[in-house]
């Protein structure tokens, strides 16, 4: 029913009391304030870390990123080993977690299993993300590092001529850190890949099967390409998570500030450096740590913004 003005015989609506009007306006303004506050927190983090890093930035400049010394006694700082460790440990994790995660996502989005077991397995993958980082670290020290010892020894004795495996497996190092990170980012890659696979229009699969494609031909040639941007977005988010992951990595990486190309040698990441040194740091060391934190902030910001951009485009599919 459409009413045109003049047709109505409603009584005149009384004006709202000013108190109610005022309450309404201040409520909307309050919510607006807090919503912008969320953006404010993000900006504030950047400002605080940036300002506190200023003294170290002035003193060391960009050489901070390309030198490898970390000596609080005579105040020489260079973050190259930690930047290397951050990138390499994250890359190991991605190399392992992307195939496993996408494989799991395919397995849990297709009808290989009846719905109920699939639901349970999906929930278990979610739980993997809920275990606290520090618990993974504790488990890493006492279970994972001893477990990886024969593998590390084999890698060194057979492939020792490659710089990546050129040192003895001593236990803590990039290798176990990469494995722990793999476990920790797997649920993220799996969840986002699964979501983008499930949200594909069913006609895509029907068309592929109708053309005579087998199930896996349809998966490899049609479904995964169609969900590709979602999978890439999830992978980027996982990369950001891996670069910033702190506790589990700190506990298994060995915290050595010496640059070594070997995956089997102790190393360090920016996040682990902060975790290790911040509480006892003084003066310029704090500033140098803030500088390292700023580098980490920049790295994760770039990766996350790219990931969010990719993922947000996927939603309009």
């Amino acid at each position: 029913m459409v009413l045109s003005p003049g047709e109505t015989d409603f009584p005149e609506i009384p004006p709202r009391p000013p108190v109610s009007l005022w309450l309404d306006r201040s409520f909307v303004w309050a919510t607006r304030l807090f919503a912008f506050g969320v953006v404010g927190v993000l900006v504030y983090i950047a400002i605080v870390v940036g300002l506190d890093a200023q003294p170290a930035m002035e003193r060391y400049g960009l050489a901070f990123l390309t030198t490898s010394a970390w000596n609080p006694v005579n105040d020489t700082y260079g973050a190259l080993p930690m930047i290397y460790g951050t990138l390499v440990s994250s890359l190991i994790a991605l190399l392992l977690a992307v195939p496993i995660g996408v494989g799991t996502a395919v397995f849990l989005s297709e009808n290989f299993l009846p719905p109920t077991p699939r639901l349970v397995l999906n929930f278990m993958v979610e739980l993997l993300a809920a275990i606290p980082s520090v618990v993974y670290g504790l488990w890493g020290i006492y279970v994972l590092i001893p477990f990886l010892k024969p593998i590390g020894a084999w890698l060194h004795s057979h492939w020792g001529w490659i710089p990546l495996f050129s040192t003895q497996y001593l236990g803590p190092g990039l290798f176990p850190a990469g494995i722990i990170l793999t476990v920790m980012i797997l649920p993220l890659i799996t969840a986002i890949s699964r979501d983008s696979l499930v949200s594909l229009p069913p006609t895509l699969r029907q068309a592929a099967l109708g053309l005579g494609a087998t199930r896996w031909t349809a998966i490899f040639r049609v479904l995964i390409p169609a969900a590709f941007s979602g999978i890439v977005g999830g992978t980027m988010l996982a990369l950001g998570r891996a670069m910033g992951e702190t506790m589990a990595v700190t506990m298994v990486i060995g915290n050595s500030n010496v640059l070594s190309p070997s995956l089997l040698a102790p190393a360090n990441t920016i996040a682990s450096l902060l975790a290790n040194q911040f509480a006892e740091a003084r003066d310029l060391q704090i500033s140098a740590l803030m500088y390292a934190g700023l580098v980490l902030f920049g790295l994760t910001l770039i990766v996350n913004v790219l990931a969010e951009w990719i993922v947000s485009r996927v939603k309009y599919y």
Binding site: R32, V38, I100, I131, P132, T214, W216, T300
Partner: protein
């Protein structure tokens, strides 16, 4: 049931062609990829079972009454507990929730009720980016504004670091739960003469309450297990904190500090504390699942 011979010959020929299409190497390939995907799923879940199993195995034996009521043991001592760390975790998570829950819910109300278009999109974008900021940087941030000015590690600083961590989770889950509330409910409330404030507080929020509560539960569980934002904001203490402005112990930092020490008494306590944290997140996740399924 009709067999192939009931159909006309041309249909029979077509069916035979379709049935024979997957050559044996192709069928082998199909089975190989299915097996590989299943293997990957298994591989992804093994760590979960191993971690939970091993934490249960190492932690359960030390999870006695003493663990809940006494202070952490000195290096060579036996026994002891994590009473101060348990209280510290509860206090700091409570501070974090007290700050971030109202903040996050109000921000989410703006996003889903009073904004649209570019502004909402940008704020959601910033929220997602904030949730991707490494938790250790939240610690660095709070160190920069709290610890430096008050010259002391404290439960307040730790609580605020956890609040920054929880904020984006709360905004996102609340925003999503408000958007699920049918728009007709809002129209009905406004049509009956309710103000915006009344519509939101009396109609929309109650309708979304279970989902919001789930989000809060998950955020709290996540914060309870976080270590990185606490190690240089709240630090740690072997003793009871005498106030909120003192260094404060927490379960997660206790695990970190006691993980690699050579003292068996402290190490076994780290496992017991891990068991508590793992049980907390498991319980919260199952609860959240159960509430949202209904």
């Amino acid at each position: 049931m009709a067999t192939a011979s009931d159909f006309p010959p041309r249909a029979q020929a077509a069916m035979a062609a379709v049935a024979s299409r997957p050559a044996s190497h192709q069928r082998l390939g199909e089975a190989f990829w299915t097996g590989l995907a299943g293997l990957f799923t298994l591989l992804a879940l093994i760590p979960l079972l191993l971690v939970i199993g091993y934490v249960l195995y190492r932690g359960a034996s030390r999870l006695d009454f003493e663990a809940f009521v006494s202070l952490p043991p000195m290096p060579l001592a036996e026994g002891g507990g994590f009473a101060n760390a348990l209280v510290g975790t509860v206090v700091m998570v409570a501070i974090g929730a007290a700050v971030s829950v109202p903040f996050g819910i109000l921000a989410a109300i703006y996003l889903s009720e009073f904004s649209s278009g570019a502004v909402a999109r940008w704020i959601r974008f910033a929220t997602n980016v904030l949730s991707g900021v490494p938790s250790i940087l939240m610690g660095v941030f709070i160190y920069g504004i709290f610890v430096v000015t008050t010259r002391s590690f404290s439960a307040i600083a730790g609580g605020f670091a956890l609040a920054v961590l929880m904020l984006p989770i709360l905004v996102r889950t609340t925003d999503e739960s408000l958007q699920i509330v049918p728009v007709s409910l809002r129209w009905a409330a406004l049509g009956m003469g309710a103000s915006k404030l009344q519509t939101v507080v009396r109609v929309v929020l109650p309708a979304a309450l279970p989902a919001i509560a789930t989000g809060i539960t998950l955020a709290v569980a996540r914060a309870a297990g976080e270590t990185a934002p606490l190690i240089f904001t709240a630090l740690f203490s072997q003793y009871w904190a005498r106030g909120l402005w003192e260094p404060t112990a927490s379960l997660s930092v206790l695990i970190y500090n006691f993980a690699a020490v050579p003292y068996a008494g402290q190490r076994s306590l780290a496992w017991a504390a891990s068991l508590i944290l793992v049980l907390t997140v498991l319980l919260a996740s199952i609860l959240a699942r159960w509430v949202t399924r209904k």
